[in-house]
């Protein structure tokens, strides 16, 4: 007999139901989407380790915590926000606290008098037709129970709509702040019309070192020839729970670049799904995860080659120290139609301690015959030949180890085009991996 008062699934669903009448969006399809999501989450609940996709990640500790779906406006001053974002870079900003838009902290971009990034709540009320073909359509709530939970509460978030042919130089920085004990459910929809180009940075932070649960979903649609460079910066509190779904659908000759960084969080799970749905589309997924202490970071990626002549590149690296644990499951599926697919996947892991652990599983499924695919995974310590080479030049052993550890991670960071962002991440990485020891000539790298 389930006690519906204390069973977390029911508690969250009750909260969603109680909020339903106050949530934005009057169209029937919006309510139907929320109800379908509620029903789905009700049917499946939180995943357990019995689910193949969750074999190595145990949500029991998350499920036990009484997080609250807060809708009130938690105060946050601009100064507090700046403290959460050291080395901020020049960008249009949209700030969300526990998933709710905060205009007083934001400066959204405009093109020809139109806001091209704005709160989803506003779009749900006033621009529902534009959302309908995409919102909840790229992500499968059937396949992702936590995306269903997010969708059951669908209310606010970011809506980025790039008009045809528009190239935005300045990045759009979506900042999601979570507060103590919150169930924060950020949501974003990015629609890049034909030939548009933009850089979108989604960053997740927590106030102080608090415990909370961020359950985020982002959907991205790239129309013909569009190019989106997307950054996911997971810099949550060290006690935070973070579940993230990034779901991408690509049309003809579009290009999607994902740069994903996991530094924070106690228990982290990311699902990245890229559907190459028309000929000539390409995606490049780069990722770096760092886990120490008792952090657990799970990255599941799924690249679906559905049509001919698409290209995918995946390059994920992990550095694990202490009792840090990571999971990498990278699946590339080449469907029967997808002739002349070109796919490469690499996952390299560096273990710095005896107790660190990685489960890496690259999976390649090919149902077409004219394809070029490769994948590989490595797990190891620092390379002794590289170490000796540096030492033979006079660099001492400790510094050489630091340098190689940093270089391993930097191999991902150096692909980032936003220089101040790269500098901020270099700083975070050295602080974390080298425990504050400085690489003095870093500015020369």
């Amino acid at each position: 007999m389930v006690n519906t008062e204390t069973d977390p699934k029911h508690r969250y669903l009750q909260a969603a139901r109680a909020l339903n009448s106050q949530l934005p969006g009057h169209r029937a399809w919006i309510k139907a989407l929320r109800e379908r999501a509620s029903a789905r989450f009700d049917a499946v609940g939180f995943p357990t380790m019995r689910d193949e996709a969750w074999k190595y990640t145990n949500l029991a500790s998350l499920v036990r915590q009484p997080f609250h779906a807060v809708s009130d406006a938690t105060p946050l001053t601009r100064e507090q926000l700046e403290r959460l974002l050291p080395n901020a870079f020049d960008a249009f900003r949209l700030v969300f606290i526990n998933g709710r838009y905060r205009p007083e902290l934001s400066n959204p971009p405009h093109v020809d008098g139109r806001e091209i990034a704005r709160p989803l709540a506003d779009a749900l009320d006033r621009d529902a037709e534009a959302l309908e073909p995409h919102l909840g359509q790229v992500v499968s709530i059937e396949a992702h129970p936590l995306a269903a939970l997010n969708t059951a509460f669908l209310a606010d978030g970011a809506y980025v709509s790039l008009p045809e042919g528009v190239a935005l130089e300045r990045p759009i920085h979506l900042i999601y702040v979570a507060t103590a004990d919150a169930l924060a459910q950020p949501r974003a929809l990015i629609v890049a019309r034909s030939g548009s180009r933009a850089t979108v940075v989604e960053q997740y932070v927590g106030i102080d070192e608090s415990r909370y649960f961020t359950n985020a979903v982002t959907e991205v649609v790239l129309e013909r020839g569009a190019r989106v460079e997307h950054y996911r910066l997971q810099t949550e509190s060290r006690l935070g729970f973070h579940v993230n779904g990034l779901h991408v659908r690509q049309h003809e000759n579009s290009e999607f670049i994902s740069q994903a960084i996991d530094l924070g969080g106690l228990l982290v799970r990311n699902d990245l799904y890229a559907l190459l749905d028309a000929p000539g589309a390409s995606c490049s997924l780069n990722g770096l995860y760092v886990a120490d202490g008792r952090q657990h970071v799970d990255n599941h990626t799924y690249i679906a080659h559905a049509k001919p002549r698409c290209t995918s590149r995946e390059f994920y690296k992990g550095v694990l120290d202490g009792r840090g644990r990571a999971v990498f499951n990278g699946r590339v599926v080449v469907q029967p139609d997808a002739q002349r697919t070109d796919a490469e996947q690499i996952n390299n892991n560096l273990l710095l301690s005896e107790d660190a652990e990685i489960d890496t599983k690259p999976e390649l499924e090919i149902y077409a015959d004219d394809v070029k695919c490769s994948h590989g995974a490595t797990v190891g310590q620092l390379d002794l030949d590289q170490l000796f080479y540096l030492r033979s030049r006079g660099v001492d052993d400790a510094q050489a180890r630091d340098l190689l550890t940093f270089a391993f991670a930097n191999d991902v960071l150096r692909r980032f085009r936003i220089a101040p962002l790269r500098a901020m991440l270099e700083h975070s990485i050295t602080t974390r991996l080298l425990r504050g020891r400085k690489l003095r000539e870093l500015e020369l790298i």
Partner: protein, 250 residues
């Protein structure tokens, strides 16, 4: 400068060097030649301080110090440089970073001021000309995507910037075309001064046409079987190693 006495070295319990005696004085260039597997590279790596080599007997004195008690990085700071036969790639560490970190570590050890960015770059640019390398390569990761020739030039560049007292060049000539070989030789010759010494390990006499040695040693089965002047290198070129090997066995 360097005095090796009765050096015995094992690798994985297998004896490789079986009693090497070698004296290298400041200002000299020594060539160590020998057939494959004779222990030439082992000798170079043992002198540079690589782990995994077990010294079972003998001593090595370098500038009055017990070389074998020093770590690899201490040896580098004391002025020993090993030019690798197969220089590794280090993705994520730029050449310029490595050069600066290395040069400053060595200067600090000598009690010299660290070079500022301007003086450092001026020095690197001057040496780049010597080895005919483009400055662009300096901002790329160490040896990443470098051709065989570029890697060897990069070794000589590092040597030129670091100005070692004792340079050990392990088959630096292997796999080089004639132009690259001449460039490498220029780099080595530029380093020849009365205070410095160079030990060139090579299988072929070819490099020695450009870097003329004062002494040539032939290493056979872990021992120096024969030493002589540069004429010995020419003789080996003509006659091969067989006659020295037979003489060594006799």
């Amino acid at each position: 400068m360097l005095s090796i006495k009765n050096l015995h070295v094992r690798v994985d319990d297998k004896p490789i060097l079986k009693g090497i005696d070698l004296d290298v004085k400041a200002g000299e260039v020594h060539a160590i030649m020998g057939p494959n597997g004779s222990g030439k590279s082992t000798l170079a790596h043992v002198l540079a301080g690589r782990e995994g080599y077990e010294v079972t007997e003998g001593t090595v004195t370098y500038q009055g110090k017990d070389l074998l008690s020093l770590s690899a990085e201490q040896r580098a700071r004391e002025g020993i440089f090993l030019g690798f036969q197969y220089p590794v790639e280090i993705p994520g560490v730029s050449n310029i970073y490595l050069l600066k970190a290395a040069l400053n570590a060595i200067r600090k050890h000598r009690g010299e001021e660290e070079l500022d960015a301007i003086d450092f770059l001026a020095r690197v640019r001057e040496k780049l000309k010597l080895v005919d390398m483009s400055e662009d390569l300096m901002y790329r990761s160490v040896n990443e995507g470098f051709s065989g020739g570029e890697r060897k030039r990069n070794e000589i560049l590092q040597m030129a910037v670091l100005e070692p007292r004792l340079a050990l060049l392990d088959e630096t000539d292997s796999g080089l075309d004639i132009d690259a070989l001449k460039t490498v030789a220029n780099g080595v010759n530029a380093l020849r001064t009365p205070e410095r010494a160079v030990v060139v390990v090579t299988h072929y006499q070819r490099l020695l046409n450009y870097v003329v040695p004062d002494v040539v040693h032939v290493l056979v089965q872990g021992r120096i079987a024969k030493s002589g002047d540069k004429g010995l290198a020419h003789e080996l070129e003509r006659r091969g190693y067989g006659w020295v090997e037979s003489a060594a066995r006799a």
